[in-house]
Amino acid sequence: MKRSNIKQLAWRNLWRHKTRSWLTVSAIAITTLLLVFMLSFQFGTYETMKEQNLSLLSGFAQVQNPDFKEQPNLEHGFKIPGEWPQILNRQKMLAAYGFRAQTFAILSNLPDTRNRAVQIIGVQVDKEKLLSSLSQKVTRGDYFADQSVKMPIVLGKQLADYLELKIGDQLQLLGQDAYGSLAVELFTLVGTFDLNIPELNQQLAQIRLSDFQQLFAYQNQAQQLVMKSDKLPQMDLFAKTLFAQLQQTNYPENLLWRDWKDLQPALYQAIQMDIASAFLWYSALLLIVILIVVNTLYMSLLERHNEFALLHALGMQPNQISRMLALETLFLILLGLLLGWLGGVAISAYFIQVGINLPGMEEMYAQFGISGTLYPQLSGLSMGFVPAVFVMAWMAMSVVIRFKLSGIRPLTGRQL
């Protein structure tokens, strides 16, 4: 028997019980629509979380002295090789890079009525503007805009408030340089930033890298080479070759490449945990719908036993009958998948354009550096996960159908 005849029979059989078939198709379609959209929304949220969080300070990847990860102090920096800027400028996919150095110091207001131990980061201002979103979060003053100001400093909003400082006020920095000597300098407050993260607003201060190197006796040195590509996944595409090129320069010490997972392990773990729990729910939902399809199939096997026996009596082989039934199930699944998939992709595509605002979630998102609107992201996984599960389920069902119908006997006169 030709395949086209079996297909025709299977398709017609599908519409024998229209209501039942449409109910099953609807269950598959609704589940597919929901899961395609939910997965797209979830992955979109992760991408926003990652990009906004990483863009704040850490960048998408860093090159460091291997010991800096465990002991982030001035001892564990590196001399900036002269060839590095040229190598870095040649990378077409590298959107921004910059060197940084950091240490702890005490900041005091000038009457010395208030002081606080803070993290001082030395940054290359022009490069930092491309690298980090911190410069865009300056709410008072500016981000090192006035070149004529000697020893400018930018502080977290709450830190400035605590030290009772206004823009233009002077403050004193007291720390220890790379050789253990006292490092003292007067700085002028040029701006304050608000990162929506109180811990950072209270403890972070930025100065120019050149001032940092001068003050802490750290000439031509840094602790971090911070890098960023346009999109996070692009970083992996050239990370290996770039790192190899950097290592090939006349650099005496080991270097460590740290990707975003290493730089932000808490964020990575939070995403992984969220994915795991979400997939548990999604799997439960899929299992319920697959059981509905199995139930439809099982009802067919029970109700239509005599019909299959008749077809066998008329000359249809058991494997052709099972192929027919498997095709009926496949049509049911494909129809549901097609409707649900198109709906899910259309809704996701719409929200990719307009974004989604979830009122009342701002505080939670702020912890991950996210502000404002979320955008879904259609990916191979979000679009392919549900179809792949259904196709695998169908393959399993086909085996069961074949097994169940392998022992079928032809219809005899006695059974009529």
């Binding site: 030709k2 005849n5 017609r12 019909e307 000359g315 009529l416």
Partner: protein, 232 residues
């Protein structure tokens, strides 16, 4: 015109278990059926007519003895091969018509040829001609639910003969029909038997069918107690 037996049963037995007892449905039965015959198997309910028909049609296998179709013993065929024999050499007409409900009359008939691998166009064209022959030329595209009992049985007959099988087996084909429809159906089967030379074996206890048969075989307790051909 009867030259060689198209069907031959040799010492065929079929038993069924019924609790602790064993029922002999067919008991050491010998039978020869020749090409082109129009036979009616009749007898009381439980006499073994249907069981014999099932074994001749390869729907069931005997416990002992042998059924030959065109001199080939059916016991030598595997289940798949026997299914193919049914498809190509035997036409079935059932009491309850047993048409495929989702197919039209034309598709129901063409389906058998399509199963044989015949080109769809050719299968549909031949099926249309056969349906016209059985008087349903105007109802080609009706589904079984849109046809009367008599019309459905005509479609079943068309389905049974469309692939020109060696024999056509009909199990109580008039049981669900009124006498007028039964008469028309019998006339049709006779006509097909005469025109196409197909062998018809009909199991029935309908006096109209018994009367119309060329050869009548009466069964009781699984044995032949009367056979016109032996009488003659």
């Amino acid at each position: 015109m009867h030259y060689a037996p198209v069907i031959e049963c040799q010492q065929v037995c079929k038993t069924f278990a019924d609790g602790d007892s064993v029922i002999k449905a067919v008991d050491q039965l010998d039978l020869q059926v020749f090409s082109g015959e129009f036979i009616c198997l009749y007898g009381a309910s439980g006499s073994g007519k249907t069981t014999l028909l099932n074994m001749i049609g390869g729907l069931d296998r005997p416990c002992s003895g042998e059924v030959f179709l065109d001199k080939h013993p059916l016991s030598h065929y595997s289940d798949d091969a026997l299914t193919d024999v049914r498809l190509r050499k035997i036409g079935f007409i059932f009491q309850s018509y047993n048409l495929i409900p989702v197919f039209t009359a034309l598709e129901n008939v063409a389906f058998i040829m399509q199963m044989q691998g015949v080109d769809s166009k050719m299968a549909l064209s031949k099926s249309q001609a056969i349906l016209q022959k059985v008087g349903l030329g105007e109802m080609l595209n009706r589904r079984p639910s849109e046809l009367s009992g008599g019309q459905q049985q005509r479609v079943a007959i068309a389905r049974a003969i469309v692939a020109e099988p060696k024999i056509v087996l009909a199990d109580e084909p008039t049981a669900n029909l009124d006498s007028k429809n039964s008469e028309q159906l019998l006339e049709l089967m006779h006509e097909l038997n005469r025109d196409l030379g197909m062998t018809f074996i009909i199991s029935s206890h309908d006096p109209q069918v018994i009367e119309a048969a060329e050869r009548r075989i009466e069964l009781a307790d699984g044995k032949i107690i009367h056979d016109d051909s032996i009488q003659n």
